[in-house]
Subunit: 216 residues, 2 copies
DNA sequence: GCAGAACCGTACGGTACGGTTCGGTGTGCG
DNA sequence: CGCACACCGAACCGTACCGTACGGTTCTGC
C-alpha cells in the first residue's frame, strides 16, 4: 500500500503543514509550473524533470496527483502572512491606517500571480474530487483572512471608531469595495490597468468609502 | 481541410452567433454536461452520446474541441438578456427600482449554475490557448453588462439622481457592493446560504449603500 | 424515383499522461 | 565492510480521450 495522500481531513486548518525542505523546493517548482502554464502544465513527469526528482518520490510523498495539488495549495496558503494587528487601535488615525494597510495587503495577496494561479486551479477542479481543493483554499485562505479582518473591525467598533451590526457583513462590504470585479477579471486573464496596479491608492479609496458607510 | 473552428476573431462581439437549431440543441446538452461535471465531463464522445449526434458532426460544426468550448460560451452569453431600461428614469423612485432590478438580475445571472460553470471553464483555461475563452466571456458577457450599467447610471446622473465623476468607477462600486466575495466563494464550490439566496433583499441593501455613496 | 448531401453510430489510430517497477547510486550506521 | 534506506533516472503499462474514417440511414431537391 502506498503512502497516504496529503489529506485535508487529517490536518487541522490552523496547523502549518510540515513538508521537508526538499519537498518544499519541489512544491515551489510545482507552483512555478502552475503559474506559467496552468494545471495542464503540471504533469508528474514534467515536475520530476524540472525539480530534479523522481516520479517515485512524488508518489511516495504526495500519494497521487490530487495529493500533490492539495499539497501545493496547502503549502502556499501557509506561506501567506498578514501584518500583525497588536495594539493598532491606539487612536483613530493609526487604526484607519491599519485598516488601509490590511486592504493593501489583501490586494497584494489576491492579485499576485501565485494566488491567481492557485485560485484558477481550485476553481477548475471545483466540480470534481468532492471539491477538496476549493475547500482547502477557502478554509486555509479566505476564512483565515476573514477571521483576521473581523477581529480587526470589531476592535475598531469597541473603540468607538466604527459602527455596524454584523462584523461579517461589514467585512464583506469592505472586501467588495476593495476588490470589486477586478479579481474575476484577472482570473479570466485580463491584465491589470495602471490604476489597478496602485494598490495603495486603491486601498485608500476603498477605506474612504467604507468609513462613509460604517464610520462612527 | 476541415471546417474552421468557431473563431472569436471572425465574429463581431455584438453579433449574435448563428447556430442552427440542431446545433443549439447540441450546445445545450454540452452546457448540461459542463454544469454537472465540469470540463472533464465534456468529452466529444460523451456529448455525441447524450446529444444523439455523431462525433463527425461535432468536428464538422465546431472544428475541434476548443471550438466547441468557445461555441458553448458564445451561445450561452448570447442567451443572457437584461430588462430594458427605456424611460426608466421618469422619477426618482422608479429609477431606483430600476437600478435595484438591474442588480437583482445581475445576481441572478452571475450566481446561476450555468454562469458559474462557464466561468469555471473559462478560468480553468485562462492560461492556455492564448486565452480565447476568457476573452470571449469578458467581451460577450462582462463588458456588455458593464456598458449597459454605465448608460443606466449616466442616465440617473443626467436626471440629477446620482452624483459621480466616472461612470465606470461608480458601476464597479455597485458591483462590489452587490457581489462582494460571494461570486468567488461560489466558484470555489461553496454553496449559498439562505440569505445569499434572497437576491431581492441582497440587491436592496446593495443599492441602499450605493445611494449613500453616490446619491445626489 | 433517384442522386447527392447531411448525418448517425462505431470502430480505430495516435498520443499524452497517471501510476508502477526496476536497476543504479550515494549516505549513514552498526 | 556490509546492510538498510532514500533517492534518481528511465523504462514500462494501462487508460482515457482527441480526431478521423467508414458503412449505413434519413432527408432534400429535381
Amino acid at each position: 500500500m502506498p503512502a497516504a495522500a496529503y489529506d485535508i481531513a487529517t490536518s487541522r486548518p490552523d496547523a502549518a503543514p510540515e513538508f521537508s525542505p526538499r519537498q518544499q523546493v519541489v512544491l515551489q517548482h510545482a507552483l512555478m509550473l502552475l503559474v506559467e502554464g496552468g494545471e495542464k502544465a503540471l504533469t508528474t513527469a514534467g515536475l520530476a524533470r524540472t525539480a530534479s526528482c523522481s516520479k517515485e518520490s512524488l508518489y511516495k510523498w504526495f500519494g497521487d496527483r490530487d495529493g500533490l495539488l492539495a499539497a501545493v495549495v496547502a503549502y502556499q496558503a501557509s506561506q501567506v502572512q498578514f501584518p500583525s494587528e497588536s495594539g493598532a487601535t491606539a487612536d483613530a488615525d493609526t487604526f484607519r491606517a491599519h485598516v488601509t494597510a490590511f486592504v493593501e495587503a489583501l490586494l497584494g495577496v489576491l492579485f499576485s500571480e501565485t494566488s491567481l494561479a492557485l485560485n484558477r486551479l481550485s476553481i477548475g477542479q471545483s466540480n470534481t474530487n468532492s471539491n477538496r481543493l476549493g475547500h482547502l483554499l477557502l478554509v486555509r485562505g479566505k476564512h483565515m483572512i476573514s477571521a483576521r479582518a473581523r477581529t480587526m473591525l470589531e476592535s475598531g467598533r469597541r473603540h468607538g471608531l466604527l459602527k455596524f451590526d454584523d462584523a461579517e457583513d461589514a467585512y464583506q462590504v469592505l472586501y467588495g469595495l476593495a476588490i470589486r470585479d477586478v479579481h474575476i477579471r484577472f482570473l479570466l486573464g485580463e491584465s491589470a490597468s495602471t490604476a489597478e496596479r496602485d494598490h495603495k491608492s486603491q486601498a485608500e479609496t476603498a477605506v474612504d468609502r467604507f468609513y462613509r458607510l460604517f464610520g462612527a
